[in-house]
């Protein structure tokens, strides 16, 4: 008798373990696979993309036990096209992609889209960017990155003489420059010079050193990128010049956000162009599947001005960027 009870209890227990979760969660947890294709970490910003993609993939899978997120990194457009095909073969329900070069990847993305999968495109858009190729478009705001910096400089130091360090001669850089010009419009802010620093610390150091030689008085430096700002700050420190009131970068790297938090006089603000935008796209995609919220459309992140007051929420000490 005793033994039978025991047997019954174990049987019941076993059954509840086996069926229970299935019964309890079966309706809410459907099986979904999201493929995430991103560029390999070849510089600070893409390193941040990889970090945030992996961080949020883990969070999402903990939140939704039925969800499987596969993150793939690729070094160039050709290998990324292969990676997208590999993901499609594995049977994904959605593709979240930050293309290395959007125009070269159009056909690979189109194929996934034509198979009826959900496609979320991040940051870099091909020439034709509409609902025929993707369902969701998440991006930072390049013109606003320039404009926010320009407006801040115009508001803080209306008569400033500014030197600008550009990135590389590509459209993103031009958008930022145009935005900056719009931001300082109507103020007395004067741009002394614009030169390319190639989004590289060493080149930015060189350009800044030459600016310091060329101009006896510089009020503000706009480098539009936190990586380049490292070289700029070093050049200023070496020259021992006290005329530079502050510098403005962009992107929101942990080192610069930390300086903002610490109240560094030379780095009072930063302008956000967050690599974490990949995570926004992943989160929205998952929400579309599990919470039945409409997510199709364009989602443009603000180029938020990071100040001492809000810096904490943009600080990721464990991120490589």
């Amino acid at each position: 008798m005793r033994r039978r009870t025991f047997g019954l209890v174990t049987a019941a227990l076993a059954a509840s373990v086996a069926i229970g979760p299935g019964m309890g969660w079966a309706q809410e947890e459907k099986k979904v696979t999201i493929g995430v294709s991103i560029p390999a970490a070849d510089h600070g910003w893409t390193a941040g993309v990889v970090y945030h993609a992996e961080r949020v993939a883990k969070l999402l899978m903990e939140e939704h036990p039925g969800l499987n997120v596969i993150v793939k990194t690729s070094a160039d457009p050709a290998s990324q096209a292969n990676a997208v095909q590999d993901l499609a073969v594995q049977g994904i329900d959605a593709l979240v992609i930050l293309p290395t070069d959007p125009d070269q990847l159009v056909s690979a993305i189109q194929q996934v889209k034509d198979d009826g999968k959900f496609v979320a495109l991040v940051d870099r858009a091909p020439s034709v960017n509409d609902s025929s190729i993707r369902d969701l478009y998440v991006a930072g705001n390049n013109p606003a990155l320039g404009e926010v910096a320009g407006k801040y400089i115009a508001a803080t130091t209306p008569d400033a003489e500014v030197v600008v360090i550009r990135g590389l001669p590509i459209p993103i850089d031009q958008q930022r420059q145009d935005g900056f010009d719009k931001g300082i419009e109507g103020s007395n802010v004067k741009v002394l010079d614009r030169q390319y620093g190639n989004w590289n610390r060493d080149d930015a150091f060189r350009v800044m050193q030459d600016y310091l030689t060329k101009y006896p008085k510089i009020d503000v430096v706009w480098a539009q990128d936190d990586d380049m700002l490292v070289g700029v700050l070093e050049a200023i420190e070496q020259a021992g010049r006290s005329d530079i009131q502050y510098v403005v970068g962009g992107a929101g790297s942990k080192d610069m956000v930390k300086r903002v938090i610490d109240g560094d006089k030379l780095v009072p603000v930063d302008v956000l162009y967050p690599p974490a935008m990949i995570a926004t796209a992943m989160q929205l995609t998952a929400d579309g599947f599990y919470d039945q919220v409409p997510v199709s459309g364009e989602y443009i992140l603000d180029a938020t001005l990071v100040t001492k007051d809000n810096a904490e929420q943009f600080y990721f000490p464990d991120s490589p960027f």
Partner: protein, 333 residues
Amino acid sequence: MTTASTETAKPKTSRDWDLRAVAPFVALALLLVLGAIANENFISVTNLTNVITRSAFIAIIALGATYVISSGGLDLSVGSMVAFVASLMILFMNSGVISDPMLMLVTGMLVALAIGAACGLLNGLITTVGKIEPFIATLGTMGIYRGLTTWLSQGGAITLRDRELQQLYRPVYFGEVFGVPVPIIVIFVTAAIAAFVLYRTRYGRHLIAVGSNEDVARYSGISVNRVRTIAYVVQGLCVAVAVLLYVPRLGSTSATTGILWELQAITAVVVGGTALRGGVGRIWGTVCGAFILEIVGNIMLLSNFVSEYLIGAIQGAIIIIAMLVQRSLSRRS
């Protein structure tokens, strides 16, 4: 053919040699004049020391490249090697295995030199023992060193964490001895050593012999592989010396450190008068070539008449003109 004229002809030939070696310096002088016209600040002591200090990395790497190229080889991996050696050096100093900062710094420097030599040795062995064309072999190691750096840094930056160590190390780039920045002293000391070894030792003569004609050198009993391998090790050591100066500047490396430096180093060597086909090595010309490259960029930035979009084109044109000036000088004699 007449022997009578040789006595008078001899000084002429030696002057001819001088003129060839002098050519890069003439080009440099012309550039200085051009710079002074472009912007009066150009000729200021601060600017010139800034520019020469900045050229230290390329100059020192190019000294090693002079060895490799005169031996008939080529090394495309130096830019990646800078990033790789610098990353490992910083990671070692971050590991905190030695608590005394001074001792740590010295050990870190020795570690960098050892890694640089090892990287050079690897390049040398692949080309000599592995018998792979230096262009392909070092193209391969270029990818390897770059990839390992990106992996070590996870694509981000590797930064020297210890503040005390950073402060201790900073003077190596920013410091001055009797008003002369340390990197400039390092350029000239390294160049003097390189010149001594190349022009005054048996190894130097063997190196040039191997570069001029491998077969003749082999029949003369020179171990060609050994000579070439050592040239790559010298290149590795030079890269390490450049790293010793590079790390204190920004205190960090990233995946983009040293990109395209190999091309700048090779350009400096060639502008300095060393032949790409091997057999001729001009140490002081190389140093001059590195100065020329950096000064061209500096003049572009300081002058107001060049659009930022055109800088690359003008830089290329100036380098070609500098080479033509050299060529015409050496032909005239």
